[in-house]
């Protein structure tokens, strides 16, 4: 494999994580040396780490910056407020946003017998999170990897994280239809994901990319739960005039064109943005936000579709 300038032999995460925790193979079998100590774990990843997860939801978009991570986080919070146990898997390796949104950036990832322990973001341990963000030596260090290396880490994230019992696992993805998406769909396939939430903004330039994402879903056999239109209008805090900052109507039109449900429009709310930047629990803190009814409605649709009864 040709390594170009920049990819180099210095890996921003593997060395630290695996020499420190150092107890699991990068890949089982094939004659690769285990980096575990004698008598330590040499076996391949635990087969059943996703067995305790009731429903898996992928959050996708062809387009960058439409709010996948924001919607993933808010959906997780909304499901938790409905009393569910939720996990978030952030497979955006180049731009892992979620640790900061939930105010857990810089936390260490520990190991247990079954694999990596996800980071709990609340005291009640009802939301857990795994992201490459936790594995970086320095937060500003770029993960400059080509596809094959990204695929390997994503496979590990899927199989080696000890989620335990979860009602919902929300998987946040980077934009595009490439390595990460194929890797996560392939790895999740045996666990029959509930489907994909596809996020767009109203304007045609977004819709133009997101329709390709819908094609991707069809091609890989991933059911589309529905389309969410984000950044749908901005209400001026001074005069209450609503302006369509990023045009209007694209999300609903896209859903209609593709024959998939339209789950709702979420308006722009700078208070939401500020609150996520500062890692506050938005749903609890800002029930008056114009975004709140839209997000709750989307969460309710998922709950109705894939209920989790009392066990």
């Amino acid at each position: 494999m040709k390594r170009s300038q920049g990819e180099g032999s210095h890996c921003p995460l593997v060395r630290r994580h695996f020499t420190q925790a150092g107890r699991r193979t990068v890949r089982g079998g094939s004659g690769w040396k285990s980096c575990g100590h004698p008598g330590g774990m040499e076996a391949a990843a635990e087969p059943g780490n996703l067995a305790g997860v009731r429903h898996i939801i992928l959050v996708l978009s062809g387009k960058g910056g439409v709010g996948k991570s924001t919607i993933s986080t808010e959906l997780a919070l909304a499901l938790r407020h409905a009393g569910k146990k939720v996990g978030i898997l952030d497979v955006d390796l180049c731009g892992p946003s979620i640790p900061r949104m939930l105010r857990v950036q810089g936390k260490a990832v520990h190991q247990c017998d079954s694999g990596w322990v996800p980071v709990f973001v609340d005291q009640e341990q009802s939301i857990s999170l795994m992201s490459v963000g936790f594995l970086l030596e320095k937060p500003d260090e770029a993960v400059v990897w080509r596809g094959p290396k990204k695929n390997a880490l994503i496979k590990q994230f899927v199989s080696d994280v000890a989620w335990g019992q979860l009602d919902y696992l929300v998987v946040d993805t980077p934009p595009g239809t490439s390595d990460e998406h194929m890797a996560v769909v392939d790895a999740m396939r045996p666990y029959s994901p509930l489907g994909a939430l596809v996020v767009t903004t109203p304007q045609a330039v977004s819709v133009g990319d997101v329709r390709r994402e819908l094609t991707f879903c069809k091609k890989v056999g991933l059911r589309v739960i529905g389309v969410v239109e984000n950044m749908s209008g901005f209400v001026c805090p001074h005069c209450a005039e609503c302006t369509n900052v990023f045009s209007r109507g694209g999300g609903e039109e896209l859903a209609r064109h593709a024959g998939v449900p339209f789950l709702g429009s979420v308006p722009l709310d700078p208070t939401l943005t500020r609150s996520l930047e500062e890692g506050r629990d938005f749903i609890r803190g800002f029930p008056k936000s114009p975004a709140f009814p839209a997000l709750s409605c989307i969460a309710q649709k998922i709950l109705n579709e894939a209920p989790v009864g009392l066990s």
Partner: protein
């Protein structure tokens, strides 16, 4: 699947293919034979091709959706307003090629001739290339892994007949992965003037942009500067300013000061920008009095000034 053992001695080292940790690596044979150390011949070919291109600018961002394509398109429009300036716009976002739509060239086809692929010309002095032109339907998804994307980028750089060009603008997808490494690798011998990095004011963008700046330092790519997009919104009704994407950590200004990188300018959020892009029109022409247009023009000028200080070394100067 290619994987590299974490104690890999490096493909160029004397121990390549021979070290203890090479056992089981799929590339062991390749490294041991010494073949892995040979440079890609395409790099020289691209260097030759780029001799007719005076200035090369990469438009980057760690973050998606900050306005890279919008900026790239308007940089191209702005530069091409001077009929004597030849401008080329290359879109290497393989999965999400927005440039055809933003430039109003959706549905156009690419032609092949003896001298290579012809870009699609919006104006006599403005040529565009994107994978979007190679897709037959707007619903077609390009579901490619890294190596295939790299191959496409190589072809775009080597096989497109740009002709004599003053500015080649390369629009990239978000991230720091295959496309970015390939663009830098293939253009390495051809001398890139620098990168313009786009961000929005909020920390969730800056967080990724710091990584991108880091990437530029790693691959020794000069940074022309940072553009802060969506910087404030003027309500069309009451004309008061709001921050839709609040700069909770000081925005690009504070980041640039800290990292000693120039801030080229701040572009406010004008809803007409999105509409122009959707229609495929130049916002600079549609809304010439908008504060956003003034900001764009000032930034474009600064980029031109930067480039004029960096003349190509040693190669034939176009038109001289």
């Amino acid at each position: 699947m290619e994987e590299v053992p974490h104690d890999c001695p490096g493909v160029g080292s004397a121990q390549a293919g021979r070290g203890a940790s090479c056992q089981g690596c799929p590339n062991q044979g390749l490294c041991a034979s010494g073949a892995g150390a040979a440079p890609d011949p395409a790099i020289e070919e691209i260097k030759e091709k780029m001799k007719t291109v005076k200035h090369k600018i990469l438009v980057l961002s760690g973050k998606g959706g900050v306005g890279k394509s919008t900026f790239s398109a308007h940089l191209a429009h702005g530069l091409a307003e001077d009929e004597n300036t030849q401008v080329a716009l290359l879109d290497i976002d393989i999965c999400g090629p927005s440039i055809p739509k933003i430039m109003g060239l959706e549905g156009e086809q690419v032609h092949q001739s003896g001298s290579g692929w012809s870009p699609v010309f919006l104006e006599d002095n403005l040529g565009v290339m994107s994978v979007g032109f190679l897709l037959s339907s707007p619903d077609d998804a390009v579901i490619w892994r890294g190596p295939k994307k790299n191959g496409m980028i190589k072809q775009f750089l080597r096989d497109v007949d740009w002709g004599e060009v003053d500015y080649l603008i390369v629009d990239t997808p978000p991230g720091t992965s295959d496309e970015h490494l390939s663009a830098v690798q293939y253009l390495a011998a051809a001398h890139i003037d620098g990168a313009v990095i786009i961000t929005t004011p909020q920390e969730v963008s800056l967080q990724d942009v710091r990584k991108e700046i880091n990437f530029c330092h790693k691959v020794k790519l000069p940074i022309i500067g940072v553009v802060e997009n969506m910087s404030g919104f003027i309500c069309p009704k009451c004309q008061k300013e709001s921050q839709i994407f609040p700069p909770t950590t000081g925005g690009a200004e504070v980041m640039c000061q800290g990292l000693k990188v120039p801030l080229l300018g701040k572009v406010p959020l004008d809803p007409r920008i999105g509409k122009s892009c959707d229609k495929g029109q130049s916002f600079l022409v549609e809304a010439p009095d908008s504060p956003a247009t003034l900001a764009y023009r000032s930034i474009i000028q600064r980029i031109q000034e930067f480039c004029s200080l960096r003349q190509p070394k040693g190669e034939n100067l176009v038109g001289s």
